[in-house]
Amino acid sequence: MNWKAFGAMLARDAHVARRNAIQLFFQTFLQPLLFVFIFGRVMVGSGYMPPQYKSLLLPGIAAISMTFTGIWAVAMPLIAEFQWTREIEDRLLAPISMNWIAIEKVIAGLLQALVSGLVVLPLGWLILRPGIEIGIGDPLIFTVIILLVGAFSACGGLALGCSMNQQHIGLMFSMVITPMIFFGCTYYPWSALEKFPILRWAVLVNPLVYASEGMRASLAPKFSHLPVAAVIGALAFFDLLLLWIGLRQFEKKAVS
């Protein structure tokens, strides 16, 4: 394993992210914070939603924000760099094995997803207070869950980014990302689906369900949620599955 090359590639991604910092900031934080403001502040303030909805909403928004950031951070550059400009070629020719080049992308995406989650939570809290009751119960569980959520988003980005062409980006959002968010137990807990027996079990194929439920379990455990062990097991399973698919697809794209 060539750690120097790996580190240099991470440094390159960090450099590019720094260069696009302002764009990245708005891209990452504007939508979740507007969501928090409208649903948590306006809807609750006007009485359409009960006050405790604030505490239920924020962990779900953090899960969406992390997922979206990780997928975007990995998939978009890969789609662009594997297009006809083949910009990624200079890294494919670096003295490091191909899988590690893909893993570097995953690590870069994971770090961005973590930053996004760890910034959205306090900013959302500022918007929603007073009356929001969230807190980190068990730091170890919280750490494990946000790491697994970040890894899920970055591995998902790798799998999607290496399976799609530029002309399919719109389709990726309407066919994959949007249903994933709405059926991801993000704006409501899984227990709210009790009256929809088929949907209730069908949504369990959606990894975002475990991400939202996991965030809720560690930040607002007073709401009913999936067992933490199930959440961690399912997230670990999806992380590995998406990583495996992503590495295979990456190789297919990289070598003709």
């Binding site: 060539n2 120097k4 090359a5 240099a8 590639m9 440094a11 390159r12 450099h15 590019v16 260069r19 550059p77 006809w84 400009t85 083949r86 910009e87 990624i88 070629e89 200079d90 890294r91 494919l92 020719l93 670096a94 003295p95 490091i96 094995s97 191909m98 990289a254 070598v255 003709s256």
Partner: protein, 337 residues
């Protein structure tokens, strides 16, 4: 100590059009029953080469001959269908990281990292190869200067002209001082001045004991730059040797391309009897390609012979021994076709 390059019976069949190679590759459709045939493209069909350490070696051939695919296999970018390739002692497919450390690659189409400036492209490339910070900066500055890019060093490369991108690609490939430099059509799209600069740089690089493998369909480039050449067509090597040796294999050396208003079969037979004529080939219906020991002095005899057989000579083109003639002799086609 230089590093050589070797391939043994290399084959590559694409099931879909290769992403980088140019068009014009032979399509072979193996239709079976009612099933839609899956097009198979045989880009490389049994290429065995031995490129010596410290040599400038050229692959010469028309578009779609399999040159880029061969380079692709040698640089880990294309998985061979069968056969093996080595850079020095390292098997290209088995020991990719070790191979990539030894090689520098200039692609046919610039693939610069558009998120970085010209200077950053070189600096990060150096970092991927483990160069220290001081060394990276020094080398990047020296290369920017050498390729006349210093003024644009801190600009993003998206707005660069084709020639500038090409120069930067070459600088990047040299950044980690590779033992073997691959250049795929290095002078395509360069103006004559830059082309000469490039040739000088390649020669200078070669003088430091490095191996250079380039592909080209430019005869002049192959002739002036390469110590040895393989002429490639349809995935095969059809001739191999130094430019001088290869040119010496053209019968006679001179090529006279003749066109007649109308032509009779016995005219071709009679042309063979002229003194100095080594070989006569019919071409394009009403033409003939004559390989001969002499050029212009044959024309009066040909003209009078044509007139006496009722054929009218309408066009004559005489060329001296060249690689172009060699390619034509082997394939019946011009390299530019």
């Amino acid at each position: 100590m230089g590093v050589g390059v070797r391939t043994q019976d290399l084959h590559k069949v694409f099931n879909s059009p290769p992403p980088m190679a140019a068009g014009g590759i032979v399509m072979r459709a193996d239709a079976k029953g009612a099933k839609a045939p899956k097009p198979q493209i045989e880009a490389v069909d049994g290429i065995s080469l031995e490129i010596r350490a410290g040599e400038i070696f050229g692959l010469l051939g028309p578009n779609g001959a399999g040159k880029s695919t061969t380079i692709g296999v040698l640089t880990t970018r294309v998985r061979p269908t069968s056969g093996q390739a080595w850079i020095g002692e390292h098997d290209v497919w088995q020991e990719q990281a070790a191979v990539k450390r030894l090689i520098g690659v200039v692609p046919q189409r610039p693939n610069l990292d558009f998120s970085l400036t010209a200077r950053e492209i070189l600096i990060f490339h150096g970092a991927y190869f483990g160069l220290g910070s001081k060394q990276r900066n020094e080398r990047a500055d020296a290369l920017l200067d050498k390729f006349k890019l210093t003024e644009r060093a801190n600009q993003m490369t998206r707005g660069f002209s084709g020639g500038m991108m090409q120069r930067l690609s070459i600088a990047r490939a040299m950044m980690h001082d590779p033992q073997v430099l691959f250049l795929d059509e290095p002078s395509a799209g360069l103006d004559p001045q830059t082309r000469i600069l490039l040739w000088e740089i390649i020669r200078e690089y070669h003088q430091s004991g490095k191996t250079v493998l380039l592909t080209t369909h430019n005869m002049e480039e192959a002739d002036t730059l390469c110590e040895r050449l393989a002429i490639v067509d349809h995935g095969h090597v059809i001739a191999l040797g130094s430019p001088k040796e290869l040119k010496a294999t053209i019968p006679g050396g001179f090529l006279l391309r003749l066109r007649f208003g109308n032509q009779t079969a016995d005219l071709l037979e009679r042309l063979k009897s002229l003194s100095g004529v080594r070989e006569v080939k019919a071409a394009d219906g009403t033409g003939a390609d004559i390989y001969a020991d002499r050029g212009g002095s044959l024309i009066p005899e040909i003209a009078s012979m044509a007139a006496s057989s009722g054929a009218e000579l309408s066009d004559v083109h005489i060329s001296e021994p060249s690689l172009e003639n060699l390619f034509l002799h082997h394939t019946g086609r011009s390299l530019r076709d």
